[in-house]
Symmetry: C2
Subunit: 291 residues, 2 copies
Amino acid sequence: MGDQKIGYLGPKGTFTKMAVDALFDGGSYISYESIPACLDAVESGEVETGVVPLENAIEGSVHLTIDYLVHQVNQSIIAELTVPIKQHLLVHPEQKDQPIERIYSHSHAIAQCHQYLHKHYPWAELEYTASTGKAAEIVAEKGVGVAAIGNHLAAEENGMRIEDTDIHDYDNNHTRFAVVQKHPQTLKVKDHPVSKQKTTVMVTLPKDYVGALHQVLAAFAWRKMNLSKIESRPMKTGLGNYFFLIDVDQPYDQVLFPGVQAELAALGCEVKVLGTYPSYQIDVPTPVKRT
Amino acid sequence: MGDQKIGYLGPKGTFTKMAVDALFDGGSYISYESIPACLDAVESGEVETGVVPLENAIEGSVHLTIDYLVHQVNQSIIAELTVPIKQHLLVHPEQKDQPIERIYSHSHAIAQCHQYLHKHYPWAELEYTASTGKAAEIVAEKGVGVAAIGNHLAAEENGMRIEDTDIHDYDNNHTRFAVVQKHPQTLKVKDHPVSKQKTTVMVTLPKDYVGALHQVLAAFAWRKMNLSKIESRPMKTGLGNYFFLIDVDQPYDQVLFPGVQAELAALGCEVKVLGTYPSYQIDVPTPVKRT
């Protein structure tokens, strides 16, 4: 087996890159500027594996990822990983006691540190960037008197100092990432515990009728299959047409799932399995402040 | 009644501002730099009404809006409006036949025009900005040789020319916006048809057990109440704890809804009505190219 090539949503220092570093054991990492660019690279074979945010991400949107996986490419989810979101205040290494006049970050990251900023930097102007990685890059260029909000990797990769750690208002904020491939093959990953095996199924309803979703869920419920997530998304064919993404808390098997699929097909639903995969939970320790 | 004060997710020229202009009949419009800043302004009384993206938005995230409404503020959704997403190529008024070397926009807008860009500007460098409004602002400053992707309002508000219209790859792409208030009061809106009345309900499950969601939906199904959207979101209390947001296609009443609420309470669920409101559908004509 050759060197594994992994594409991810960049730039350097994003939470996606942090997830990639944590999961994979070696390989070449290639940064893409958007979710579609990353998934296109997997589709064309430029990389075998792609890593994109799936839920609750700072950079990128779950909807963009899901819609692109459903409508634009033909790939499988082969793993998911969950990473805690820990935000830090990053400054230029030469920053001393100059007043911080402006703070850069993605709007979601700034939102997550709302109370901290209000308490410690009420005077600072907030400037929104396309990603937390980009914010760190800008501050590395600008020098003293400004700061960025981002993760420890953004600090490392841009040669910044972590001025304050864990400045996010709430703990227990996680991001789920999807690892996708066009031609499923083995991944070389570090030794992480697998928290569970999951299967993601897409169900398209024939038309919008009362109780349709209830009937769909009945097919899982009476088989005692636990669903950990369900989400309806509009089809691109117009308002009011929805499909459903359902995460089932068990691996695909040859008994229960074919039963569900047959039952849903009888209702007139279209069913597509987007992947059956291990779920990795990755911990990120709080870095020590470098002074 | 005094002048209505409406806060919205800015900057100028965003799709949210376009929705605001289309819906309201007069009033003062105040731009906020993030979804939390806008909702905070409603909470503190700085504005009576806020408008933020709820689903499928370019700027901002449905998750951020929903999570903030559920966890951080105490406000009601009093209307929703649906606006088609039409993307145009915007250039500086002095742009003639200088080659377009760089194109700016939000990563989602660039993703939506993927095929167009590939066909017409394969050489152009793509630069990601925090919003489509910001992209237009940058190009207005930079002058010729660059372009932005954004809506017709971004062109008008930044004095840009629309070089090419409807450059998005797919039609039928819409964004839903929520109009929220802390103390519900009458809105002065233009004469738009109301497509339907809806009610949004939040349901928290006591714990993660097999078939729980199915039981929740049964309470709606046997009463023949149609659900147009359902989404599970993680609670901030840790992984695996979910709440559900359910859109019901009818106004809140004193018979069916109290019945559902009592049935769900008996299952140990917590139920909160986030709003019962009219849904406005707004059309946006394609602008005539200004040459």
